[in-house]
């Protein structure tokens, strides 16, 4: 089964602060330097990351 994309990041806006990582209740998001990796399988679409992102770079779809 192909992975459904739930977490979408606008890399033009992201400053890699890791705020999204801090509020993700299921530890789906990892920050490595200038890479944000979201484990789409773990994501529950709770939207905490979308709400908290200071640059509004995240869209949950």
């Amino acid at each position: 089964m192909s992975e459904i994309e739930k977490f979408r990041l606008d890399e033009r806006k992201c400053i890699y602060c890791g705020g999204c990582v801090s509020v993700c209740p299921v530890l789906a998001i990892t920050l490595e330097e200038t890479r944000i990796i979201c484990d789409q399988k773990k994501c529950t679409r709770c939207r905490a990351c979308e709400k908290v992102c200071p640059l509004k770079a995240i869209t949950i779809i």
Partner: protein
């Protein structure tokens, strides 16, 4: 990369908490590994970079090298929504705005000089559990992967706290108890040696700030409550646009982050595990400052770890001395600050203007020192309708 198979302690995160801990533990004779996942310790900065002088004397009595200091501050000025302001100013230095990129690197260097092994660009990917005990970690340094064994894992991971949460600590930040912030470092912006704070709907459930860094540089930022739905970047841009003094100022750096302004994580130790600094939400809930608290937790936890090392006992029961010492020292103070935050978040623009118009610099100092009662009584005499909101402070 050369790593040992086992260490007495592995510290995840080389910020102020982790490096302070690593220094103390290494000085106590422990083999310590201090990791940071970033290629450059101290960068990117996610912080306003301010610390009070009283904190520096307590947590780093040897003094901070001038290379780490942007500006020396001698007070604060608080602005109400109606433009009224209140200034507390001393004739001496009351605080510093640091250059965190240099400061954090300096602290990691101090840890290394004390004998700690330091390795940047190294991520702790997961914990190793054997027979119900945490015995080590899997690490990734660039393309290399390692397993290290250790008696003590210390999470000094800051807000992300992935390892702490994997271990079962309650380090998940809720939206209500975080502020989300955007900050520009601005050049060609003359400032006095005061930190400036702006309250009200300009920054819902937070504040806007100007922290001078010397050489006409300043951190200009806005933090807003995580549940307010406010957009900190938009608010910051509009704050800057509306204020004539920023007309010539240039954006040298864009920073941001999410910070806990809630209560500290209650359980800070388990068998073979400790959580320190911002990973344990050891942050002042009224302003989101945490450099001093982080270093203090690193010192207290470091001393407890050295005793545990000497007695070869890294059980929760023994490590608990860190949690107890912390609670005795900072528990009540942080609780009072949280109470203040929860009152401030109920104030509207008129309330802020009325209060700031009513109180004196001495009153503001009393509030900062945690003595709310006489100040609240004074405000209520003129503005009795605030009783409902302010009664929690009586």
């Amino acid at each position: 990369m050369r790593l040992m198979e086992r260490y007495d302690a592995v510290v995840v995160g080389a910020g102020p908490a982790g490096s302070t801990f690593a220094k103390i533990a290494a000085e106590g004779g422990m083999e310590v590994l201090l990791l940071d996942k970033k290629k450059e310790i101290g960068s990117p900065v996610r912080c306003g970079e301010g610390i009070g002088d009283a904190w520096v004397s307590r947590v780093w009595p040897q003094g901070i090298p001038s290379a780490c200091i942007g500006a020396r501050i001698s007070g604060a000025i608080v602005f109400a929504p109606n433009g009224k302001s209140l200034c507390i100013r001393a004739s001496h230095t009351t605080g510093f705005v640091l250059e965190r990129k240099i400061f954090d690197k300096y602290l990691a260097v101090e840890a290394a000089k004390a004998g700690a092994h330091v390795l940047a660009r190294t991520m702790a990917t997961s914990l190793i559990k054997e027979d119900g005990r945490f015995t080590g970690m899997r690490l990734k340094h660039m393309e290399e992967e390692f397993e290290v064994k250790t008696d003590l894992i210390v999470s000094a991971e800051g807000m992300e706290a992935r390892i702490a949460r994997e271990a079962g600590f309650q380090s998940l930040a809720t939206l209500y108890d975080v502020d989300t912030c955007v900050e520009y470092e601005m050049a060609d912006l003359p400032c006095e040696d005061l930190i400036e704070l702006y309250f009200g709907s300009i920054a819902p459930r937070g504040y806007a700030w100007v922290f001078p860094k010397g050489n006409q540089l300043a951190n200009v930022g806005i933090g807003v409550g995580g549940l307010t739905g406010a957009n900190p970047k938009k608010l910051l841009d509009s704050f800057i646009e509306k204020n004539e003094r920023f007309r010539k100022a240039e954006v040298i750096e864009v920073k941001g982050g999410v910070i806990s302004v809630g209560e500290p994580v209650k359980e800070k130790v388990k068998d073979n595990l400790m959580v320190i600094g911002t990973a344990a939400h050891l942050v002042d809930p009224t302003h989101g400052g945490g450099i001093g608290l982080a270093m203090e937790s690193g010192i207290i936890a470091g001393r407890v770890a050295v005793k545990a090392f000497q007695k070869k006992d890294f059980s929760k029961k023994h490590l608990m001395h860190y949690e107890m010492a912390w609670d005795a020292r900072e528990g009540n103070k942080l609780e009072k600050r949280l109470l203040l935050r929860k009152v401030l978040e109920k104030l509207n623009d008129d309330d802020y203007s009325n209060i700031i118009g009513e109180i004196s610099a001495d009153d503001l100092q009393k509030v900062l020192d945690g003595n709310y009662k006489s100040v609240v009584a004074k405000v209520l005499l003129k503005h009795p309708s605030l009783l409902k909101v302010l009664s929690a402070l009586l």
